[in-house]
């Protein structure tokens, strides 16, 4: 077993290297980082040349990748952009823990990510918990009471919820529950944007209140699809022979569900959650933008628009590493949950 884990980890490292090469090639093909430097005013051509050299963007892509990976403090770089390298570089490369500096904000990428990550985790973990609880509840109840009114209603709602475009859903929730509730003078209305009310401060109540609409937006779509999945798994499990055996043994329905059906039906959910968890790090791009939630999704979106390569590489490397690690963890979890699965 240990050998299996070690083998998977080594494969994971190799995989990450290959992924980073592909990601670097793709981000560099996306566009010109310097194009976003001129805000409302164009910057001069001579400034662009200088900035290109100072940021090391005039070097071939392979050299830029090597610098990203292992740094440039072993070679001379052009600090003042005049075309002549004169001093040793200051970057140590990601393998030594230096994630580089953002082109736009000119500060370390890991600092930027560290600021946004807690906000994203707060939002996404809450969503994940809500999604798991609600989809299990809805899916299982729908399966147990198949073709009942509850089942039909929630099947319909699932289809509606799943087909709604997320930006539309986010805006509808915002307009109805925040703008119109307030306009109609209802005693409870939600805030429109932001993480908390600046005049009140970042209290737990404020943040929780501001999280309701974004969490609802993200969760509705996932609950719609996962509850269907749980429902079908549950139906399959209920039809199994061992359930009939348990019934014929005289166990009550409740005990059967809790001890036998639930665990077997929930097992595929482990795979899904295992795939979802690393993607949580990427945040929800659209929802975060609409609700002005300062998370990783927005960071990634802005970086993609500005072709801020160090930030893009940082975020994607983080997510890739998380995916690889969580795949291994998920596979390990399976061996605990399902005795039929063994690796050698």
């Amino acid at each position: 077993m240990t050998r299996y884990i070690i083998r998977r980890l080594l494969q994971g490292i190799l995989l990450l290297l290959i992924i980073s090469v592909i990601l670097f090639a793709l981000t560099n093909a996306m566009g010109d980082p310097l194009a976003s430097f001129g805000g409302r005013r164009r910057i001069r051509s001579s400034d662009r040349e200088r900035l290109t050299r100072q940021l090391g963007l005039d070097k071939p892509v392979l050299v830029q990748y090597a610098v990203w990976l292992i740094g440039n403090d072993w070679m001379d770089v052009d600090v003042d952009g005049d075309g002549l390298p004169e001093a040793k570089g200051t970057r140590r490369g990601i393998l030594r823990g230096d994630w580089g500096n953002s082109f736009m904000e000119k500060r370390p990428v890991n600092e930027i990510i560290a600021e946004r990550l807690p906000n994203t985790l707060l939002l996404m973990l809450t969503c994940e918990v809500v999604i798991i609880l609600l989809s299990l509840a809805i899916g299982m109840y729908s399966a147990i009471r198949q073709y009942s009114l509850f089942d039909h209603v929630f099947t319909g709602l699932s289809f509606i919820g799943y087909s709604m475009p997320i930006f539309w859903l986010a805006l509808i929730l915002m307009f109805v529950f925040a703008v119109y509730f307030k306009k109609w003078g209802l005693p409870i209305y939600f805030p429109t944007v932001g993480k908390y009310d600046l005049t009140v401060g970042p209290t737990v109540l404020q943040v929780a209140w501001h999280m309701v609409l974004p969490v609802a937006t993200i969760s509705i779509m996932s609950i719609a699809s996962y509850s269907r999945y749980i429902r079908s798994c549950m139906l399959e499990v209920i039809g199994q022979d061992y359930i009939r055996t348990a019934r014929s043994k005289g166990l009550t329905e409740g005990v059967i569900l809790a001890r036998h059906a639930f665990k077997n039906a929930a097992l595929p959910l482990v795979t899904i959650v295992g795939m979802d968890l690393p993607l949580l790090l990427g945040g929800a791009v659209v929802t975060e933008s609409i609700f002005a939630w300062p998370g990783m999704g927005r960071l990634f979106w802005n970086a993609a628009q500005d072709t801020d390569i160090p930030v893009l590489m940082g975020v994607m490397t983080l997510i890739s590493a998380a995916v690889v690690v969580f795949q291994i963890i998920t596979d390990m979890t399976y061996t605990f949950l399902d005795p039929r699965i063994r690796y050698d």
């Binding site: 566009g31 010109d32 194009a35 976003s36 430097f37 001129g38 805000g39 409302r40 005013r41 164009r42 910057i43 001069r44 051509s45 001579s46 400034d47 662009r48 900035l51 100072q54 940021l55 600090v79 003042d80 952009g81 005049d82 736009m104 904000e105 000119k106 500060r107 930027i112 600021e115 946004r116 906000n119 805006l171 915002m174 307009f175 925040a178 703008v179 307030k182 306009k183 805030p191 429109t192 944007v193 932001g194 993480k195 600046l198 005049t199 933008s289 609409i290 609700f291 002005a292 300062p294 998370g295 927005r298 960071l299 979106w301 802005n302 072709t307």
Partner: protein, 624 residues
């Protein structure tokens, strides 16, 4: 909100009508008061609350009561109350509570600044935040006149601060100006700023115009700054020292690290000279600015400004409607009807110097790839185009009547040529001009031709902006009606404005008509070098800005003259001449006058937004 409900309950319980009877002791309970002739809020506050400056409490209590009972008035302007209005005068305790609430104005921005050091950013959102934190010598107010900040006087030839040859400018500095830590702002700060900008060790965004035009920047004494130019530079007042760095904070960093690129001050602005200090900045979420007690005009009335970063424009609209933001930014003309329907929000359009323009490719040099369509060389064809397209209708239909076609690039400024709107929508005249120029449809395919060349023009703008693409569709129809064919070839905005050296599509002549929103670089200064012969880019000089290939001696003369003309009236005359030539020869066509559209909630008072330094008067803002 809860306090206002409480106040209302108190009022209902203890309703004591007191019709304007002067009482010596301030009441402890609220009362309803009817305004008499010659009353003022200041006087009422003096009489009832003991101090005139407590008048905001009366305004806040009355406006809160208005929401429940419309017989009370909504006080929109504390300076103007009418006899007969019903007001609520709160008791002293309530008044104290109301006044203790911090006065806050909230605004939303689409992007957060990438840096708060003006040398390191060109981002518009950073510049407008810096208006409140770090002004320079002066700020350009909403009438595009200088409002003095760090400078004590505005230099002109009359007051002798500009030398006869225009090359030496002496600026006396404001002796009251201080940094927020108490250190005085001196000429050394400005000299240091100049040194940092031109020093190659600093990765600044641009060194223009400091490196190009300034021969030296010296401190004659602590409060006198002397600028020496190497050649006369007309836009000096709008482009030089629009901010200043604190030497006492940054010089030690520069000396220790050899560069100020990584200085904490660039983001944290620990020390400022503006009306507000940066109290808090949570990345991607918000910034909180607090009143600066050391501001040279005195502490601003407003306690805090909250800047929220809201990337989505629909979300901003929701926030405006819900009142979660007082100032909304960068709305489109299509939003104006929605905002006007709201009772408590005003639409403010601000002259920003931008005009959505059509530029023609008039290149005729040896490099065929760069040349425009030969038909464009004939002024009659350009005049025909001007007559063929109904720009007024475009503004009415696509922009909801929110704006109008400008006459010259200097529309709404004194530099605008008054008789610029020569070309009314007249398709018959357009056809006549084209016939006269020899372009007729000989082969019956719908487009005119001459000598075997079809009159089909390549029409280019940035892809993805809906209103531009809609304009293209409409313009194509108008031009097709007079027999001019159009091929649309839109480009991505991130490469659209690349220079000739960087292969930009416009700079390398891949267009016949190009459309974008353009502003003179030194706005509010009108000077613009993109019409000069010398600015036509080529392989030898790839950085030129004249992408249109216009080389006209008649136009060149007044442009060159205005660059060195320091007399403002003579300069206006020169620009009228320029406008006349550009209009008669149709070197430029205005599609719509692209003013910035802002929204300001009625509770935010004294907000005068400038097109140049947007928040220049934040020290006067109040919010109640």
């Amino acid at each position: 909100m809860k306090q206002r409900i409480f106040l209302a309950l108190v009022l209902i319980v203890t309703l004591l009508p007191m019709a304007g009877v002067a009482s010596a002791a301030p009441p402890d309970q609220e009362e309803v008061y009817t305004v008499q002739k010659d009353d003022s809020l200041w006087g009422l506050a003096e009489k009832y609350l003991g101090s005139g400056s407590a008048y905001p409490a009366i305004v806040m209590a009355t406006n809160a009561k208005f929401k429940e009972d419309e017989t009370f008035t909504y006080i929109a302007d504390p300076g103007l109350i009418q006899p007969g209005w019903k007001l609520v005068i709160p008791g002293t305790a309530e008044a104290a509570e109301l006044l203790a609430e911090p006065q806050v104005i909230t605004m939303t921005l689409f992007e957060e600044p990438d840096s708060l050091n003006r040398a390191y950013t060109t981002m518009w959102y950073a510049l407008i935040v810096l208006d409140m934190l770090n002004p320079g010598l002066w700020a350009w107010n909403d009438n595009l006149q200088p409002s003095l900040e760090m400078a004590a006087q505005f230099p002109t030839k009359e007051n002798g601060l500009i030398s006869e040859d225009g090359l030496t400018i002496t600026i006396p500095l404001n002796e009251d100006a201080k940094w927020s830590d108490g250190e005085p702002v001196t000429a050394d700060d400005f000299v240091f700023t100049y040194e940092m900008i031109v020093d190659p060790a600093n990765t600044v965004m641009t060194t223009w115009p400091y490196a190009d035009y300034l021969e030296s920047v010296t401190a004659q004494d602590d409060h006198t700054l002397v600028l020496k130019f190497s050649e006369p530079f007309a836009p000096w007042a709008t482009t030089i020292f629009d901010f200043v760095m604190p030497e006492h904070v940054l010089r030690p960093i520069f000396e220790a690290e050899g560069t100020i690129d990584n200085a904490d001050w660039n983001r944290n602005l620990t020390v400022v000279n503006g009306a507000f200090v940066l109290k808090e900045w949570e990345a991607a979420s918000h910034m909180i600015l607090e009143a600066n007690a050391n501001y040279w005009r005195g502490r601003p009335v407003l306690d805090q400004i909250h800047v929220m970063i809201v990337p989505d424009d629909e979300a901003q609209m929701a926030a405006i409607k819900a009142g979660d933001t007082d100032i909304g930014v960068f709305l489109s003309y299509a939003d104006i009807p929605t905002i006007e329907a709201l009772e408590d929000v005003d639409v403010v359009t601000v002259l920003s110097g931008y005009n959505e323009s059509w530029f023609f490719n008039l290149n005729t040099d040896a490099t065929a790839a760069k040349n425009g369509h030969p038909a464009l060389q004939d002024v009659r064809v350009r005049q025909a185009i001007a007559h063929a397209v109904d720009f007024d209708a475009i503004c009415q239909k696509l922009l909801f009547g929110g704006t109008y076609p400008p006459g010259t690039p200097w529309e709404e400024m004194p530099f605008n040529y008054p008789d610029a709107n020569l070309y009314q929508y007249d398709p018959e005249k357009a056809k006549a001009l084209l016939d006269e120029a020899g372009w007729v449809d000989t082969n019956g395919d719908g487009t005119r031709d001459k000598d075997g060349v079809e009159l089909v023009l390549v029409y280019v703008t940035t892809a993805g902006r809906e209103v531009r693409e809609q304009t293209q569709v409409v313009a194509m129809q108008y031009l097709a009606d007079v027999g001019i064919g159009i091929t649309v070839q839109n480009g991505s905005y991130d490469v659209f404005w690349n220079s000739y050296g960087d292969g930009g599509p416009i700079a390398t002549g891949n267009y016949d008509i190009a459309q974008w929103s353009s502003q003179a670089e030194g706005f509010p200064d009108p000077s613009d070098n993109q019409w000069l012969c010398s600015e036509i880019p080529s392989d030898e000089s790839p950085a030129g800005n004249n992408w249109y290939g216009i080389c006209d001696e008649e136009l060149e003369a007044p442009f060159r003259a205005q660059e060195v003309e320091m007399d403002p009236n003579k300069r206006i005359e020169l620009f009228h001449e320029i406008g006349r030539i550009m209009t008669e020869k149709v070197y430029w066509l205005g599609v719509w006058h692209d003013n910035d559209v802002w929204t300001v909630n009625k509770r935010a008072k004294n907000v005068k937004i400038s097109g140049a330094d947007c928040f220049w008067n934040c020290f006067e803002w109040t919010g109640m």
